[in-house]
Amino acid sequence: MRRTLVAGLAVAALTVSACATDTPTEQAPGGEQPEQEQTADGEWFVRATYDKQLAQRDAKPEGPEDQPWLQAIEPEMVDTAEFKQDGKTLCFSNASVSNPWRVTGWITMQQQVDVLKASGDIGEFRVSDAGDDDNKQISDIQSFVDAGDCNAIIISPSTTATLTPAVEAACESGVPVIVFDRGVETDCMVTFIHPIGGYAYGADAAEFLVDKLEPGSKVLALRILPGVDVLEHRWAAAQEIFGASDIEVLGDEFTGGDGAKIKDLVTQYLQRGDVDGIWMDAGDGAVAAVEAFEDAGKDYPVMAGEDELSFMRKWKETGMTAIAPVYSNFQWRTPILAAVKIWKGEEVPKEWVLPQEPITDADRDEFLDRNKDMPSLHYAKFGGEDLPGFPQAWKDR
């Protein structure tokens, strides 16, 4: 009897742990995770947005050149006079700090807040972290609204559809709302801050591979997980570009960003034949992919990683042909600065599109030099070099 009970409990626990450990890593999941073997023009491909993002890459952003976090591409300014106030309590509902990209940005944000606290622009900075839990974030936002003393609410939504009503409720309370990173399906916020987007990211990577590889070359695509818009857009753009080229896509595999899994997958592809290029939808574990080539005694592939330092250092060390597409990490500074602007009644862009430029051979060493003291899971374009806490705050984490 006891044994049956134990076995039953075990099965239950296995199910629980399987679910519990299945949480996505790079970005939070969509409300649902549709089964995807997407082709371009599929569910995740909107041609108009794709064309717009690709065009935005060439647009010259407005604003100070040495402060990309204050630049904006084709901004449509909105008046914020109605929010002009003396209140100084800033509230921030964060989706999570569950990956190195978010951790890096979160440090930058806190450093920016410290500067503005010292100058007296911000009084109190209240933060809640939802730990990638939609329900938790909905109640986080609600409690900011209920408290009634937030003078502005910054939201980094964990998912798009589920968080929309919560953001709308925050808007209705009359407090200026600022959304950044992932979007929501409403335009009630004062400003929505984000880099150009997933299509541009995926296209930067895919175009580089098409450009550097001979026709007929074989490319392996490594993806984090299905069903998350910003990641699906990257892959949709890549499929669009690979489809129009002579590149053969060997396969697209979900890795969860796990280095061991990436290394194993790449090793197996190498056992079956040559792989000439690697396309990744995010740089997590990129070094593991490179190591698979080393350990198999094969030539380095042409590679699209990300501006994560471990990959950039490996890139320099090996001299391989590579590019680091960037999902601008410095965007974490912008919402704080936007809130202060709004309190002063200054205009802000309705949709604040930040520049998003890949790091190439040409500026790789410059970025490595700037970040030479930084840990390996740090992002080169974090944009905090001019903050007083630099470099110690990012080093000690």
Partner: protein, 341 residues
Amino acid sequence: MTTVRAAAGRLFGGGSATVFALLVCVFVVILFLNPSFFEPPSLMAFVKKAAPLVVLAVGQYLVIVCGELDLSVGSLVGAQVVIAAAVIDGQESMTLPTLLLMLAFGVLVGLVNGLVVTVLKVHSLIATLGMMLVLYGAIRLWTGGAPTGALSDGFRQAGREGIDMPVLRQLPWALLIAAAVVVAAVVLMRKPFGRTLITAGDNEKAATFSGVKVWRVRTIAFVMSAVLATLAGVLIGGYAGVTAQVGQGLEFTAITAVVLGGVVLGGGRGTVLAAMAGALTVEALFTLFNQLSLPSTIRPTVQGVIIIAAVAWAARERAKPRPFLTAEPPVQPPVQPQPQS
């Protein structure tokens, strides 16, 4: 035919034959799909990848066979790799002190697990589930959400490098380490301690009445499981470096491997070798899915079906009266473990 079955039965024990059959089946299918998998360098790459799971499965076996479960190993692997990266921070000279620190931390975690289960009488499912969450949370708190630092090349030797040689290209250290762990476990299970472990899982009361300090035996099993998880962490960190996801879900994979090996949850039955074969089978299945280019979305489902089918089949085999027992001397005295190799 009967002789063959008898020999197989003696070798692998009731219920465990299924896993070896499954392992062979999976390998045969892979052979047809991709003969190059069986070229020595490819096989070595497979072994290098599978070694950490083999080590984990042996640890999990020790706990399961004495009637408990250890759900904390995945988190522990993750925690150990993150600790290693943070403490070493790329400095070669820190490698050895860090390994000692990890060992101490592993022993501590195992000891807490064991004592909470045996002295505080918390069911191991709850105790180690708690430990899993504690470790997960503590590491996130400590690192601010994502790992920092870097592993040294010395640290990564065990999981990544090996002895260069012709034909194999490289004999991975990971293979030697995993083999040593398995051999040590096989020997241990034949010693009085191993038999006591099985007895404790088979019939706790009887074991107590015959003078076994069950709490002590079980605590030691938990400590060994945690130490082996630490070793697995060294191998995994060495294999692929440090990423934020390292270790996630490994407790599930390790328990799957052990159960697939025909080791009975609740304790008292099963062999180390079968647990090892279970681990290899799980890894071979992952490889097979890749070879088949099965869509990622359906893989967990297929994996689940295969595991349930295999375990159900093994249970059926075990429940059947075994025909060869009439022709052969009994191979399985009640309390003793089956011979393992």
